[in-house]
């Protein structure tokens, strides 16, 4: 093998990543398996950081880190009630870099949940769920796919939470599955299907393990692929609507059918790109390879570096081995469910079933309730949008703190000590009040501005702050016996055996 032959093979492998001309860049996209994901050219507006903050990319990178660390952990963890805890103890102490694998997997899991929320906030606030008018895309449907991915991420995190089989895991899942049992009529059946029996035991562990390691990741990957495919089909990030408006302003006639580069070669037909008036040229775009590839490389490297860095300083907790006879005090669900658990404290039906259902359904319906098409891709749409966003934040802040104060100072059962009906307390409680207040605000803003978008912005911002406050309360301000403690108040000392 001469040096020139090796150089020849190397050149064949890497030329798509280092194209020397625009044509080579385009050919590289269709010639390389990994690169076929990307479009030939990407608009400069899409590439810019503020458009997306690359949150979706970061989330996907974190998911890949989870998958890689997860597969290795599958060799080291044993999903049996007798061995699970001990296999984790050995991971922490006796397996080389076991501590790193565990911490990395855990911190990435929490990061992924936080990131999918942030990504959802970004997509909403930039109005990127809107179909657009110039080329009517399927972004509303893609938003629904995204909400499904949010639910899948939460389920993945929840199923993984049980696997350490320590007190934290066991009782968090006890609380979580009991919330599921609050669904009328079918609740107990759902709970028993999840548990594989009537109590949390070996069948539960193996079900959660299979869901967590096999079924849910596959489903998540499939839906995520669909989610990305839809972005490509719709012409890229929503900010490209601006590129389209510019192109139309230059040439106001009806758009020409033009050629499109696709994996099948050059084709004509009715894809978005073909009907798209925008021509991505030297002024408004760059080739995906190497500009987007390098950008994504940068994001990937930074994300992994930050994740590993966090793993060096943040420990993964492992409490005492699971003991069904002893309930720790307090017993808490994972952090992303603590806002829910706080509301469940007011009413299991309202806080645990009705409000989450309304939230998920409401999220999915946003693009169908808000049909306005202006300002797509811009944060808060415009000036008034920002104003109503701030209003929503403040309204949410005041009402959430108010309902919390009500729950603490004037519990419903002490205001109405003679009423015995559980249905009454399921309907009259701070969670219901919060729901009604938010719904009321939506209609008031809608009436005042005559804009579904501004009303949606206000309500969504109120939802964000309510979620943050309730989650914080459940995490930091609720101590033993679910008593309220200010951040500066110390929790009572936990007695131990010796």
């Amino acid at each position: 093998m001469s040096l020139s032959k090796i150089a020849g093979i190397w050149e064949k492998l890497i030329w798509p990543w280092r194209p020397e001309s625009n044509r080579e860049a385009g050919s590289g996209i269709v010639a390389n398996f990994l690169l076929h994901w990307f479009p030939n050219r990407i608009s400069l507006r899409s590439l810019a950081f503020p458009a997306s903050l690359y949150l979706g990319t970061i989330t996907f990178v974190v998911f890949l880190v989870l998958t890689v660390t997860g597969v290795i952990l599958m060799f080291l963890y044993v999903p049996s009630v007798e061995r699970a805890y001990w296999s984790l103890k050995d991971l922490d102490h006796a397996v080389s870099f076991g501590w790193l694998l565990r911490r990395l997997h855990r911190i990435s899991a929490h990061l992924m949940v936080a990131l999918v929320f942030l990504h959802m906030f970004r997509v909403f606030l930039t109005g990127s769920y809107k179909a657009g008018e110039i080329v009517k895309s399927a972004r509303p449907f893609n938003w629904v796919l995204g909400v499904s991915l949010l639910v899948l991420t939460l389920l993945l995190s929840f199923t993984g939470y049980l696997l350490p089989w320590d007190q934290l895991a066991f009782w968090a899942i006890t609380v979580g599955t009991n919330i599921a049992a609050a669904v009328p009529y079918v609740g107990e059946t759902i709970r028993q299907f999840l548990l594989g029996g009537t109590i949390i035991g070996q069948p539960t562990l193996i079900r959660f393990y299979v869901l967590h390691c096999a079924l849910l990741p596959l489903v998540l990957f499939a839906v995520a692929a669909w989610h990305m495919w839809r972005i490509r089909k719709d012409g890229g990030l929503a900010i490209v609507e601006e590129d389209r408006k510019e192109a139309l302003a230059r040439e106001p006639q009806a758009p020409k059918k033009s050629k499109t580069y696709s994996v099948l070669g050059i084709a004509s037909g009715t894809t978005v790109q073909v009907n798209d008036p925008t021509t991505l040229n030297e002024d408004n775009s760059v080739p995906s390879t190497p500009f987007l590839t390098v950008r994504i490389l940068l994001i990937t490297l930074l994300t992994v570096a930050v994740s590993i860095g966090l793993s060096l300083v943040i420990q993964a907790p492992l409490e005492a081995a699971a003991n069904p006879e002893v309930t720790p005090n307090p017993a808490k669900a994972p952090w992303y469910f603590l806002g829910l658990q706080e509301m469940v404290g007011y009413s299991a039906l309202m806080g645990g079933v009705i409000v989450p259902t309304i939230v998920i359904l409401g999220l999915m319906l946003i693009p169908f309730l808000d049909r306005e098409q202006k300002g797509i891709g811009y944060w808060f749409t415009d000036g008034p949008g920002r104003k109503w966003g701030v209003f929503g934040f403040l309204f949410g802040l005041v009402t959430t703190c108010g309902c919390l104060a009500l729950a603490l100072l004037a519990p419903m059962r002490s205001i109405f000590p003679t009423i015995e009906s559980q249905v009454f307390f399921d309907l009259v409680n701070p969670a219901t009040f919060l729901l009604l207040l938010f719904a009321g605000m939506y209609f008031v803003v809608l009436k005042k501005t005559d804009s579904t978008r501004y009303a949606a912005i206000a309500t969504f911002c109120a939802f964000i702050i309510a979620f943050v406050i309730l989650t914080y309360t459940g995490t930091a301000l609720r101590g033993p016996n679910w008593d309220f403690f200010w951040p500066w108040q110390a929790w009572p000392v936990h007695p131990t055996a010796l």
């Binding site: 194209p19 020397e20 001309s21 625009n22 860049a25 001990w86 103890k89 050995d90 922490d92 102490h93 006796a94 080389s96 870099f97 501590w99 790193l100 320590d166 007190q167 030297e282 760059v286 080739p287 190497p290 500009f291 390098v294 950008r295 490389l297 940068l298 490297l301 930074l302 992994v304 570096a305 590993i308 860095g309 793993s311 060096l312 907790p317 492992l318 409490e319 005492a320 003991n323 006879e325 002893v326 309930t327 720790p328 005090n329 000392v493 936990h494 007695p495 131990t496 055996a497 010796l498």
Partner: protein
């Protein structure tokens, strides 16, 4: 011509790559320099100083582990505590020193027990802080003087006795556990069983204490415990010293226990845990033998210890009874050796000595292969046989005399 990526972008990528390299190297360094390596190399130096004849290459290196499968424990303490089973390192400091009570290994071999079953701690861990178990959520910390001195700085109670009694629970008194022995004595003399069920029987006035040691900290009411230490152990100590203070309305009498007595009682109570999974081999006093009547036991003892023990030791009794010594053969394949002098003369026309030193027939085979006796043993046998003969003859004579005078 196409655009080029900005230099700034390339610099950022370089920065990110360096960052990954940095955290990666930090992670590798953190993992590859554990504490125990230092302790092992120090041990090598100590051994070289103390013993002239030990080859350093034979010293243990790497993670050391004792997996006690029967007790479902794995102990890695000996990774650092390298001298614990050695003799001669008594003056060395921890962690290299010899066990303070090395006799313990005579009937508690370390391969069958490990360390944590007696001492507590976190056997999995390989770093001192984690291994000694004073970490959050680990419920079996090291039962050391450090823990004990929280309760009595000048005279720390030997907390490991709690673990001794987990197995030695049903013994009346055990060597090496003075606090527990004293506490057991109190249980016998102070009438605890009048009100409480203990080890299976007792009264119903107070709660059943058979598994009191398993009761979780959450199950105790600490509201009347005014003390620095919110521990179950302390609860028991204070409760023994003054029950109505800790449990208002309690009718349990105050028995004026001194603090070390209350500590011993608290230790006893905490040792009472569910032992259903303990393998029988670990329970002292459990005899896996056939049940025998007292007469059978006594006869067994006489056979082993009496005059006829020689014939039992050398297996003669398998075929021969010797009624003079009350030795009963299980098979009686051969004649009673008490009458051997007559027997051997009648059958072989020899004396017993002649026969023993020059046997014929079955005995020849047996004495050549299965029961090989030295000359001295043969003389011993002959002496005992002659004595047996005398005893039988005397008994017969006495019997005749008694029969003649009696009837």
């Amino acid at each position: 011509m196409m655009k080029k990526i900005s230099q700034r972008e390339i610099l950022l990528v370089l920065f990110a790559a360096v960052a990954i390299l940095a955290v990666g190297i930090a992670a590798i360094v953190y993992d590859t320099a554990p504490e125990w390596k230092y302790y092992q190399s120090e041990f090598g130096a100590i051994v070289a100083e103390t013993f002239a004849d030990v080859d350093p290459a034979t010293l243990p290196s790497g993670v050391q582990q004792i997996w006690v499968e029967k007790l479902d424990r794995v102990d890695r303490c000996t990774t650092c505590h390298l001298g614990v089973t050695w003799r001669g390192l008594e003056d060395v400091e921890q962690p290299w020193t010899t066990h303070p009570i090395p006799e313990i290994f005579d009937n508690h071999p370390i391969e069958d027990f490990g360390c944590t079953v007696c001492h507590g701690g976190q056997g999995f861990a390989l770093a001192e802080y984690d291994a000694h178990g004073f970490v959050k959520h680990w419920e079996e910390p090291l039962l050391s003087d450090i823990a004990g001195s929280e309760y009595d700085p000048r005279n720390p109670p030997p907390l490991y006795e709690v673990q001794c009694n987990f197995c030695h629970r049903y013994e009346r008194s055990t060597d090496g556990t003075p606090y527990i022995n004293q506490a057991k004595e109190f249980v016998r003399t102070k009438g605890c069983k009048i009100c409480h069920v203990i080890n299976g029987d007792g009264g119903k006035l107070g709660p059943d204490l058979t598994r009191e040691g398993d009761k979780h900290a959450e199950g105790f009411d600490f509201s009347n415990l005014v003390s620095e230490q919110m521990t179950v152990f302390n609860w028991h100590i204070k409760h023994f010293q003054s029950p109505p203070t800790i449990v208002p309305g309690s009718i349990m009498p105050e028995m004026n226990f001194q603090s070390h007595e209350a500590q011993g009682l608290a230790m006893l109570v905490m040792s009472w845990r569910d032992d259903e999974d303990l393998p029988r081999a670990y329970l002292p006093g459990v005899e896996l033998k056939d049940e025998m009547t007292p007469e059978e036991v006594e006869r067994d003892r006489r056979m082993r210890e009496g005059d006829g023990a020689f014939f039992v030791e050398h297996n003669c009794f398998v075929c021969h009874s010797i009624k003079a010594y009350d030795i009963q053969s299980p098979t009686d394949k051969g004649p009673d050796l008490s009458l051997a002098p007559d027997d051997v003369r009648a059958r072989f026309n020899k004396t017993v000595e002649e026969f023993l030193f020059d046997p014929t027939g079955t005995m020849k085979i047996i004495l050549e292969s299965q029961i090989v006796l030295t000359d001295e043993e043969k003389w011993q046998a002959i002496e005992k046989i002659m004595k047996a003969y005398d005893i039988v003859k005397n008994r017969a004579a006495e019997a005749e005399a008694a029969a003649a005078s009696g009837s």
